[in-house]
Subunit: 374 residues, 2 copies
């Protein structure tokens, strides 16, 4: 994560993983989910916070989900079901359920199919938010498979040369296991920067980069600072930023996600739901590739270790500290936060206190040594 | 394609598709391929030229392949075989064969598996160049499937923050059928710009964009013009160009291709072959998703048409002519070139004349009306 998104240390309080899991599980229980699914949903969110991906953690997502449950957009205990199936594929109607936990089930169906026929591919439609899709992809990696997940989101991204938003931030995640190295975990929006990260930058008053956003006519906005008071009339640019820098590639990747998610599921991408004036739901794609169906698992993991180590140990370009691969820094963060707790902004702690009181759920325990600078 | 890569009209001669197919098929026959595979290889290359993708067409690739056959890097009539197989997957040892035609076979195996179990996924290792992988992906789209192809190439791309090239240009292609709209066909390197396009820019003396290349220490080179005399000491930057603009995403996508291709096939990505001092071969990944395994084909195609039409008809941002989706402009070019012939630079025509004479194969027939300005 870029430094500009880091919460300043003096405003942090540390909360233990165990305490956060308990509170968030209780939250989803209160929203009406089964205890099993509430724990899975909690795992998805808390893992994001452990990995330093605050954009998809509890502070950014819980109140959003709460609104969804309250205005009946999100259906608790959804009656999700497979509507079409073959030995290697399934299409799931999510019945307006939250993919924060349904993603676990969808990926497990893909994994079970991949155990039998080598590869399993599952689409999910008529659903709500997924949380960090990398977490669902990791479910496959933890079972010695390569996991690939895509999510089609609401239209906030302007295709190359267009004057309006047609595409979602449409992230793609791929996870693959290694032996001793931290697993490979790519999870990135196909736009220049995820909307959740813009929200955080706006909350913190951080500077935006060039090629990240444009005005509501598609004209790029140069470096600028958004504040909580800034209007919402900005849109996102595809990965690449400009055509010269390859934005047509980011734009095309976002369209691929709309094809692999909603269209393959027989549903509609947001740009069409929008004009049809039908409920704007999300669709997702989960594929698990069984490594042993292709080669020896040992060979694969050994080569993964060698590749990841080589990337990690490559001499950095002048002025930079180290070379990273996707998932490495998040893995390191996870070790640190499991040991020392998850840092939250004091405003978030206050919000949690209110939530716990209101819903009669356990509040957050701070770690013994909160890290506060004087 | 950017204007800077266009061959100036006054130096063009037009060759008929039929004539080009005949000459290129004869070329591969002379190189020792079977008549069936020679025709497939010719189809892969000529289709690139028809679609205006000169970077992967005959003028850029034939002499490269000829060198490969002559120095025994490429084996004609390879004894390719499936070394591991499940109902949904296969891993193919290509026996040093050219994936320009083996790609057709690999994708067909994936398609046949997808007909049976809904999805088919095939890796290929120990192989040579693929030609434009979008062409192989289209093989699936023409059979009412979504095709996905990835190719792991030799290390020319510097990962974010690194000081040396570890990654290939590692393209990803996805093709999906529509009903009346031109099919969706994404085929793009995961670097800012494909190496083949840099070669063309160098041949034409065109200006390079910022964030495209860096020096051999990983330091970005700003806008510049390469000439045929420029040294080869430049490397490519990942899609995004800089970390701020998302190069870690392009970098990660290239690593995904190394995982889905060589590593999943039990082989090595170029960065490891290189240090092991083993033969540097290419690996590839082909997946076919049977649309009918997920939803009604009619529904899918109707929705594809609606989405692609909406993108195509969106008002462009001020200063631009139109909004494109991947494959649209290439489809239009294909119609025009099928009718009017494929334009070649006069130098290419001269090179072909020499080749035809030397190999005793039919030369190229120019179209009756060559387009030459006075």
């Amino acid at each position: 994560m870029l430094e500009r998104f880091k919460v300043p240390i003096k405003e942090q309080v540390r909360v233990s993983e165990k305490s956060l899991r308990r509170t968030v599980t209780a939250f989803f229980g209160k929203m009406g989910e089964s205890s099993e699914d509430a724990a899975i949903a909690s795992d998805t969110l808390v893992t994001s916070d452990l990995r330093g991906v605050e954009s998809h953690g509890v502070s950014n997502m819980l109140s959003h989900y709460r609104n969804g449950y309250e205005n009946k957009k999100i259906k608790p205990r959804p009656n999700w079901r497979i509507v079409r199936e073959t030995p290697g594929t399934a299409n799931i109607d999510a019945d307006n359920g939250l993919v924060v936990f349904l993603g676990r089930h969808a990926m497990q169906i893909a994994i079970d199919k991949a155990k039998k026929v080598g590869v399993g591919s599952v689409t999910v439609f008529n659903s709500e938010h997924s949380g960090a899709i990398g977490h669902h992809a990791m479910g496959a990696a933890q079972q010695d498979m390569i996991g690939m997940v895509m999510t089609s989101a609401s239209a906030r991204v302007v295709p190359t040369f267009a004057s309006k938003a047609l595409l979602g931030t449409n992230p793609i995640a791929v996870a693959a296991p290694a032996r001793n190295e931290a697993p490979f975990l790519y999870d990135a929006a196909t736009c220049s920067v995820a909307m959740n990260k813009i929200w955080i930058a706006r909350r913190l008053g951080s500077m935006l980069g060039p090629g990240w956003i444009c005005d509501n006519q598609g004209v790029p906005i140069e470096e600028s600072i958004l504040t909580p008071e800034s209007d919402d009339e900005f849109l996102l640019l595809p990965l690449g930023g400009t055509r010269e820098q390859g934005s047509h590639k980011g734009s095309g990747l976002a369209m691929i996600v709309d094809i692999m998610g909603p269209l393959l599921a027989g549903s509609l991408p947001d740009m069409l739901s929008n004009v049809d004036n039908v409920d704007r739901k999300q669709s997702h794609h989960f594929t698990a590739y069984n490594i042993e169906a292709f080669t020896e698992l040992d060979t694969f993991k050994n080569n993964m270790d060698r590749m990841l180590q080589m990337i990690r140990e490559t001499k950095p370009v002048s002025g930079e500290e180290r070379v990273l691969y996707p998932g490495l820094i998040e893995y390191e963060e996870e070790q640190e936060r499991r040991a020392n707790g998850i840092p939250f902004h004091e405003e978030v702690m206050t919000w949690f206190e209110g939530l716990a009181e209101e819903l009669s759920i356990p509040g957050l325990d701070t770690c013994e040594e909160n890290i506060k600078s004087s």
